[in-house]
Protein backbone atom coordinates (compact mmCIF):
# COMPACT_ATOMS: atom_id res chain seq x y z
CA UNK A 1 0.00 0.00 0.00
CA UNK A 2 1.33 3.47 -0.88
CA UNK A 3 2.25 6.07 1.72
CA UNK A 4 -0.78 8.32 1.24
CA UNK A 5 -3.24 5.42 1.15
CA UNK A 6 -1.74 4.13 4.42
CA UNK A 7 -2.20 7.57 5.99
CA UNK A 8 -5.84 7.73 4.86
CA UNK A 9 -6.51 4.25 6.22
CA UNK A 10 -5.01 5.26 9.56
CA UNK A 11 -7.13 8.43 9.66
CA UNK A 12 -10.27 6.46 8.87
CA UNK A 13 -9.41 4.06 11.69
CA UNK A 14 -8.99 6.94 14.13
CA UNK A 15 -12.25 8.54 12.91
CA UNK A 16 -14.06 5.23 13.46
CA UNK A 17 -12.56 4.84 16.94
CA UNK A 18 -13.75 8.33 17.82
CA UNK A 19 -17.24 7.57 16.46
CA UNK A 20 -17.34 4.39 18.59
CA UNK A 21 -16.27 6.33 21.70
CA UNK A 22 -19.21 8.72 21.07
CA UNK A 23 -21.68 5.84 21.05
CA UNK A 24 -20.40 4.39 24.33
CA UNK A 25 -23.03 4.13 27.00
CA UNK A 26 -21.69 3.95 30.49
CA UNK A 27 -22.90 4.95 33.89
CA UNK A 28 -19.55 6.62 34.43
CA UNK A 29 -19.95 9.78 32.37
CA UNK A 30 -16.53 11.06 33.47
CA UNK A 31 -14.73 8.07 31.92
CA UNK A 32 -16.81 8.36 28.74
CA UNK A 33 -16.06 12.09 28.51
CA UNK A 34 -12.32 11.57 29.00
CA UNK A 35 -12.14 8.73 26.47
CA UNK A 36 -14.03 10.79 23.86
CA UNK A 37 -11.75 13.74 24.43
CA UNK A 38 -8.62 11.63 24.00
CA UNK A 39 -9.93 9.84 20.89
CA UNK A 40 -10.96 13.16 19.33
CA UNK A 41 -7.54 14.67 20.06
CA UNK A 42 -5.83 11.61 18.54
CA UNK A 43 -7.90 11.95 15.36
CA UNK A 44 -7.51 15.75 15.01
CA UNK A 45 -3.75 15.62 15.74
CA UNK A 46 -3.35 12.95 13.06
CA UNK A 47 -5.29 15.15 10.61
CA UNK A 48 -3.03 18.14 11.38
CA UNK A 49 0.10 15.99 10.98
CA UNK A 50 -1.05 14.66 7.61
CA UNK A 51 -2.01 18.16 6.42
CA UNK A 52 1.48 19.41 7.37
CA UNK A 53 3.20 16.49 5.62
CA UNK A 54 1.12 16.73 2.44
CA UNK A 55 1.63 20.51 2.29
CA UNK A 56 5.40 19.94 2.15
CA UNK A 57 5.31 17.49 -0.77
CA UNK A 58 6.89 18.81 -3.97
CA UNK A 59 4.18 19.76 -6.46
CA UNK A 60 1.46 20.27 -3.84
CA UNK A 61 0.39 23.92 -3.45
CA UNK A 62 -1.60 23.56 -0.23
CA UNK A 63 -3.42 21.11 1.97
CA UNK A 64 -6.26 21.87 4.39
CA UNK A 65 -9.01 20.10 6.30
CA UNK A 66 -12.53 21.46 6.67
CA UNK A 67 -15.55 20.72 8.83
CA UNK A 68 -18.90 22.04 7.54
CA UNK A 69 -16.97 24.30 5.15
CA UNK A 70 -14.95 25.93 7.93
CA UNK A 71 -11.19 25.59 8.19
CA UNK A 72 -9.99 23.02 10.73
CA UNK A 73 -6.33 22.50 9.77
CA UNK A 74 -4.07 24.04 7.16
CA UNK A 75 -0.56 23.49 5.86
CA UNK A 76 0.13 27.19 5.27
CA UNK A 77 -1.77 30.46 5.13
CA UNK A 78 -3.92 30.28 2.02
CA UNK A 79 -4.97 33.48 0.30
CA UNK A 80 -8.67 32.63 -0.13
CA UNK A 81 -9.17 30.23 2.75
CA UNK A 82 -12.87 31.06 3.27
CA UNK A 83 -13.66 30.88 -0.46
CA UNK A 84 -11.90 27.52 -0.52
CA UNK A 85 -14.06 26.32 2.36
CA UNK A 86 -17.25 27.52 0.71
CA UNK A 87 -16.24 25.72 -2.51
CA UNK A 88 -15.56 22.54 -0.57
CA UNK A 89 -18.94 22.68 1.13
CA UNK A 90 -20.85 23.42 -2.08
CA UNK A 91 -18.97 20.76 -4.06
CA UNK A 92 -19.55 18.17 -1.35
CA UNK A 93 -23.28 18.95 -1.22
CA UNK A 94 -23.68 18.72 -5.00
CA UNK A 95 -21.59 15.54 -5.17
CA UNK A 96 -23.56 13.91 -2.34
CA UNK A 97 -26.84 14.62 -4.14
CA UNK A 98 -25.41 13.26 -7.40
CA UNK A 99 -23.99 10.21 -5.66
CA UNK A 100 -27.37 9.49 -4.08
CA UNK A 101 -29.19 9.86 -7.42
CA UNK A 102 -26.76 7.56 -9.19
CA UNK A 103 -26.47 5.09 -6.34
CA UNK A 104 -22.68 5.60 -6.07
CA UNK A 105 -22.60 4.97 -2.35
CA UNK A 106 -21.06 7.21 0.30
CA UNK A 107 -18.97 10.08 -1.08
CA UNK A 108 -15.22 9.35 -0.98
CA UNK A 109 -13.58 11.96 -3.18
CA UNK A 110 -14.18 14.85 -5.56
CA UNK A 111 -11.64 16.33 -7.97
CA UNK A 112 -12.20 19.74 -9.53
CA UNK A 113 -9.83 20.52 -12.40
CA UNK A 114 -9.47 24.08 -13.65
CA UNK A 115 -7.43 25.47 -16.52
CA UNK A 116 -4.52 26.24 -14.15
CA UNK A 117 -4.98 24.34 -10.89
CA UNK A 118 -6.91 21.46 -9.46
CA UNK A 119 -8.33 20.52 -6.05
CA UNK A 120 -8.90 17.05 -4.68
CA UNK A 121 -11.36 16.71 -1.78
CA UNK A 122 -11.34 13.51 0.24
CA UNK A 123 -13.96 12.61 2.80
CA UNK A 124 -12.51 11.37 6.11
CA UNK A 125 -15.02 10.78 8.88
CA UNK A 126 -16.72 14.12 9.57
CA UNK A 127 -14.03 16.09 7.70
CA UNK A 128 -12.99 16.93 4.14
CA UNK A 129 -9.30 16.88 3.32
CA UNK A 130 -8.44 19.21 0.42
CA UNK A 131 -5.28 19.12 -1.63
CA UNK A 132 -4.54 21.67 -4.32
CA UNK A 133 -1.86 21.57 -6.98
CA UNK A 134 -1.10 22.89 -10.47
CA UNK A 135 -3.24 21.14 -13.10
CA UNK A 136 -0.36 19.25 -14.70
CA UNK A 137 0.73 17.53 -11.46
CA UNK A 138 -0.21 13.86 -11.18
CA UNK A 139 -1.63 13.92 -7.66
CA UNK A 140 -1.57 10.16 -7.14
CA UNK A 141 2.12 9.83 -7.95
CA UNK A 142 3.08 13.06 -6.13
CA UNK A 143 1.33 11.85 -2.96
CA UNK A 144 2.81 8.39 -3.18
CA UNK A 145 6.37 9.60 -3.69
CA UNK A 146 6.43 10.61 0.01
CA UNK A 147 8.13 7.90 2.06
Amino acid sequence: MHWFQTQLTELSRLADEYAISQRQSSSNIINVSEKMRLKRAEFINAVQTLVDKVGKIKGISACAAYHDGLILAQSAQLAAIDAFGATVQESARAAQQGAALLGLGELEQIVVVGAKNKVAMLSIGPLMLCISSPKEINLASALNRKT
Binding site: I29, S33, D68, Q74, G85
Partner: protein
Protein backbone atom coordinates in the same frame (compact mmCIF):
# COMPACT_ATOMS: atom_id res chain seq x y z
CA UNK B 1 -12.48 -0.06 63.00
CA UNK B 2 -12.49 2.78 60.54
CA UNK B 3 -12.25 2.01 56.84
CA UNK B 4 -9.77 3.77 54.62
CA UNK B 5 -12.19 3.49 51.68
CA UNK B 6 -14.00 6.77 51.13
CA UNK B 7 -17.02 7.25 48.85
CA UNK B 8 -16.16 9.05 45.63
CA UNK B 9 -17.28 12.67 45.66
CA UNK B 10 -19.05 12.57 42.27
CA UNK B 11 -19.87 16.28 42.30
CA UNK B 12 -16.18 17.08 42.75
CA UNK B 13 -15.12 14.65 39.98
CA UNK B 14 -17.69 16.05 37.56
CA UNK B 15 -16.48 19.55 38.28
CA UNK B 16 -12.93 18.32 37.67
CA UNK B 17 -13.96 16.83 34.33
CA UNK B 18 -15.63 20.12 33.35
CA UNK B 19 -12.33 21.88 34.09
CA UNK B 20 -10.48 19.23 32.04
CA UNK B 21 -12.85 19.89 29.11
CA UNK B 22 -12.19 23.63 29.38
CA UNK B 23 -8.41 23.00 29.51
CA UNK B 24 -8.73 20.84 26.39
CA UNK B 25 -10.57 23.67 24.60
CA UNK B 26 -7.84 26.08 25.69
CA UNK B 27 -5.25 23.88 23.96
CA UNK B 28 -6.75 24.76 20.55
CA UNK B 29 -4.71 27.30 18.59
CA UNK B 30 -5.95 30.85 19.20
CA UNK B 31 -8.32 30.10 22.11
CA UNK B 32 -7.63 32.53 24.97
CA UNK B 33 -10.47 31.72 27.38
CA UNK B 34 -13.05 28.99 27.90
CA UNK B 35 -15.80 29.54 30.44
CA UNK B 36 -19.04 28.14 31.78
CA UNK B 37 -21.57 30.90 32.48
CA UNK B 38 -24.74 30.39 34.48
CA UNK B 39 -28.18 31.80 33.64
CA UNK B 40 -27.47 34.95 35.68
CA UNK B 41 -24.32 35.66 33.67
CA UNK B 42 -21.97 34.52 36.42
CA UNK B 43 -18.88 32.52 35.49
CA UNK B 44 -18.85 29.17 37.31
CA UNK B 45 -15.77 27.58 35.65
CA UNK B 46 -13.06 29.28 33.65
CA UNK B 47 -9.70 28.56 32.05
CA UNK B 48 -7.86 31.54 30.59
CA UNK B 49 -4.54 32.53 29.14
CA UNK B 50 -4.31 35.87 30.90
CA UNK B 51 -6.33 38.06 33.24
CA UNK B 52 -9.77 38.71 31.77
CA UNK B 53 -12.83 40.39 33.22
CA UNK B 54 -14.94 37.34 34.06
CA UNK B 55 -17.98 39.44 35.03
CA UNK B 56 -17.89 41.14 31.62
CA UNK B 57 -17.54 37.80 29.81
CA UNK B 58 -20.43 36.25 31.71
CA UNK B 59 -22.81 39.15 31.28
CA UNK B 60 -22.01 39.79 27.60
CA UNK B 61 -22.29 36.11 26.66
CA UNK B 62 -25.76 35.88 28.17
CA UNK B 63 -26.88 39.18 26.61
CA UNK B 64 -25.58 38.33 23.12
CA UNK B 65 -26.94 34.79 23.21
CA UNK B 66 -30.32 36.01 24.47
CA UNK B 67 -30.54 38.59 21.67
CA UNK B 68 -29.53 36.04 19.01
CA UNK B 69 -32.03 33.50 20.34
CA UNK B 70 -34.83 36.09 20.18
CA UNK B 71 -33.80 37.02 16.62
CA UNK B 72 -33.91 33.33 15.66
CA UNK B 73 -37.42 33.04 17.14
CA UNK B 74 -38.56 36.10 15.15
CA UNK B 75 -37.56 34.49 11.86
CA UNK B 76 -38.92 31.06 12.78
CA UNK B 77 -35.55 29.37 13.29
CA UNK B 78 -36.63 27.88 16.63
CA UNK B 79 -33.85 27.08 19.09
CA UNK B 80 -30.35 28.57 18.85
CA UNK B 81 -27.49 26.08 19.04
CA UNK B 82 -24.51 28.40 18.74
CA UNK B 83 -23.76 32.10 18.44
CA UNK B 84 -20.52 33.21 16.80
CA UNK B 85 -19.50 36.86 17.25
CA UNK B 86 -16.86 37.88 14.72
CA UNK B 87 -14.89 40.85 16.03
CA UNK B 88 -11.91 42.81 14.74
CA UNK B 89 -9.53 41.01 17.10
CA UNK B 90 -11.17 37.61 17.37
CA UNK B 91 -14.28 35.53 17.91
CA UNK B 92 -16.64 34.83 20.79
CA UNK B 93 -18.53 31.55 20.48
CA UNK B 94 -21.32 30.63 22.86
CA UNK B 95 -23.39 27.48 23.11
CA UNK B 96 -26.15 26.49 25.55
CA UNK B 97 -25.35 23.55 27.80
CA UNK B 98 -28.11 22.78 30.29
CA UNK B 99 -30.47 24.65 32.64
CA UNK B 100 -29.39 28.07 31.38
CA UNK B 101 -25.66 27.31 31.62
CA UNK B 102 -23.59 28.34 28.58
CA UNK B 103 -20.18 27.36 27.27
CA UNK B 104 -18.27 30.38 25.94
CA UNK B 105 -14.99 30.49 24.06
CA UNK B 106 -12.93 33.59 23.39
CA UNK B 107 -10.41 33.33 20.57
CA UNK B 108 -7.88 35.46 18.77
CA UNK B 109 -8.32 36.33 15.11
CA UNK B 110 -5.91 33.59 13.96
CA UNK B 111 -7.98 30.77 15.49
CA UNK B 112 -9.19 28.19 12.97
CA UNK B 113 -12.93 28.69 13.19
CA UNK B 114 -13.73 25.20 11.90
CA UNK B 115 -11.49 23.61 14.54
CA UNK B 116 -12.98 25.64 17.38
CA UNK B 117 -16.55 25.06 16.19
CA UNK B 118 -15.93 21.32 15.68
CA UNK B 119 -14.56 20.95 19.23
CA UNK B 120 -17.46 22.97 20.63
CA UNK B 121 -20.09 20.92 18.80
CA UNK B 122 -18.48 17.64 19.83
CA UNK B 123 -18.06 18.75 23.44
CA UNK B 124 -21.62 19.90 24.06
CA UNK B 125 -23.40 16.49 24.24
CA UNK B 126 -21.01 15.23 26.92
CA UNK B 127 -21.14 18.53 28.80
CA UNK B 128 -24.94 18.30 28.82
CA UNK B 129 -24.70 14.83 30.41
CA UNK B 130 -22.11 16.01 32.94
CA UNK B 131 -24.27 18.97 33.89
CA UNK B 132 -27.44 16.97 34.30
CA UNK B 133 -25.52 14.60 36.62
CA UNK B 134 -23.83 17.56 38.32
CA UNK B 135 -27.12 19.37 38.95
CA UNK B 136 -28.96 16.25 40.11
CA UNK B 137 -26.39 15.16 42.72
Amino acid sequence: MSSNIHPLDTRKSQSGEIDAILRNLMSIQGVTAAAIVDSDGLVTHIQRESEVNTDAIGASVQVVFGAAARAAQHVGHHSTNMVICENTEGFILSTPVEAGFMLALITQRDALLGRVRFELKETIPVLKKLFSHYLNH
